[in-house]
Point group: C4
Chain length 180, copies 4
């Protein structure tokens, strides 16, 4: 599993979707999920740690475990990735949802929810989980994307897609005009 995490982490880093040791990812497993460790480089992660659906959480689990837990509790998603794509974050600062103009975005994520809340709070976790029921990717305002799917590959696809769509919006000068 560590090599699967590393394979996707290398792609996230190479595409500029994460920097340094930011970001985290998890895969559902039995009565919980495996998540990357706090401070781990996603492109060369240490072995992920198991977080149960309820109860105590290992100390070195990523501090974003609350969001991942909320997503697994309320959806059927099998994997979750949190990343820091710059164009998606920039757009999220001034809109409540992101409406792609490119064909891939229009097809696969026609309305990307933007949610707000205090980082690490159960309230924000709940909002992200609800966002991921509507769309495979949701942006926490000013913070980053959370994408989910049947596998890490699918969660990565939606992370890359969201940043691509947001970059097109910025380059097309649509930012601040078409978003509302």
């Amino acid at each position: 599993m560590q090599s699967e995490f590393g394979r996707i982490g290398k792609r996230l880093f190479a595409e500029g979707l994460i920097g340094a040791s930011f970001g985290n990812m998890s895969v559902r497993s039995g009565t919980g999920f495996f998540i990357t460790r706090s401070g781990s480089y996603l492109d060369c992660p240490k072995s992920p740690v198991f977080v149960p659906m309820d109860g105590d959480v290992p100390e070195d689990a990523s501090s974003e475990y609350r969001v991942h837990r909320a997503v697994y509790r309320s959806t059927d998603h099998q994997a979750v990735i949190h990343a820091h794509p710059p164009h998606a974050i920039a757009l999220s600062l001034s809109c409540d949802r992101i409406v792609p103009m490119d064909v891939e975005g229009l097809t696969l994520a026609p309305v990307i929810p933007v949610v707000v809340g205090v980082c690490g709070s159960d309230e924000l976790a709940g909002r992200i989980a609800r966002g991921l029921q509507e769309c495979r990717v949701t942006v926490a305002r000013g913070h980053g994307t959370f994408a989910a799917g049947k596998s890490l590959d699918e969660a990565y696809l939606f992370t890359s897609l969201a940043e691509h769509s947001c970059r097109i919006l910025v380059l097309a000068g649509a930012y601040g005009r078409r978003q509302d």
Copy 2:
């Protein structure tokens, strides 16, 4: 052939011309062509599949096979690459053709056609094929580039060139003014 596809795919990914498992490429062969599989990462592709010029198409062939087939039917091109270069896509949203300002673009692709149509339709496929008779690279509006040539290397060259020329246009602030 798989290693040739992978060699070019790695370059496309490293230059940011594709992300995740987006994009596809093919090489003409006998009475058809080999194309990358649906959902395959171009930088580490599975073995490409053969698509005949007429008739049934293998289930896991890239869903863009219609465009590739239309190009091989109506031109002498030996290879086709579809990519998602962000500047080319952004420019394509508001113009019917792209006129480069840089010397390489002016020399090798002085008028890059922008075509419209429903993704996956025969109509769009025909328009892209016609575009590739005028210029080695054509942009499907809001979707991405299709480039063709004697080899994957040449199709890659025109993909890279188109994005380079479009990036210069955006950086020079020509976008929205000189395009018409």
Copy 3:
């Protein structure tokens, strides 16, 4: 130690935080510190050289050793990285401090000092050292970031963070308006 320097240098280069042989880094050791050599590529550095806290400096030590020495003298930081992140440098040209809008920046570096002075002067070195007492990263106007921490990994984290926050500010169009 050379491999530790190289590991972090490769990350700085891959993220675009340094180019060519620009940038330098050091780690405190006993009565001085080890610093990269002048003209060395940080992603494949030669063995770093020892600079004592006082007295003569080896000829091939990075010419920025003054800043590193000033930081170690006046703080408890164990490692220092100087890089050239383009968005941070661009923002620094027109403001006295950088105020991030993204959550990571707001949390970890809410006010990033921008200092001025002649490169290579003790005056600038002193100002950077003071900046690094307030925040883990400081920008020398028009020149680049200096980040510090318990380790090279931590100094790298703050370098990456500063560029990320500045890129968000630029993309959000906040540059020239919210900064003062």
Copy 4:
């Protein structure tokens, strides 16, 4: 020598200073110079070919050999690199010289000449050679940089520097205002 060319070519490609098989480089040797082959990928070049200072030129030498020859004839430079850095090219479209605002640019290349002329002409080659007597890097308008120095490493340094300085100018919004 091939491995030296490849080492620098990999860096140029990784920094985004060249794309596809664009760009070329050479090193002075005896009564001529070795230059990359036409159509060669600089990051994995075939063995470079020898071009004498006068007389016939091997068929597969880079078509830019005229510029390289003119530089070696009129200066003491030992190596020349031609690249396609997008920000430098974009800026060159509307100014006759580029004046950096960042400290490295101000120190190492305070006025970067921009020259015009027909690609492949002796006239343009002469202007670039004269530019490289004033500054280690010169931009051919709309085409790309030519940088020179004691070695490929130095020519690469000035290529990277020019793009860095131009990127800062673009990000700082100075483009179209401070340039003249």
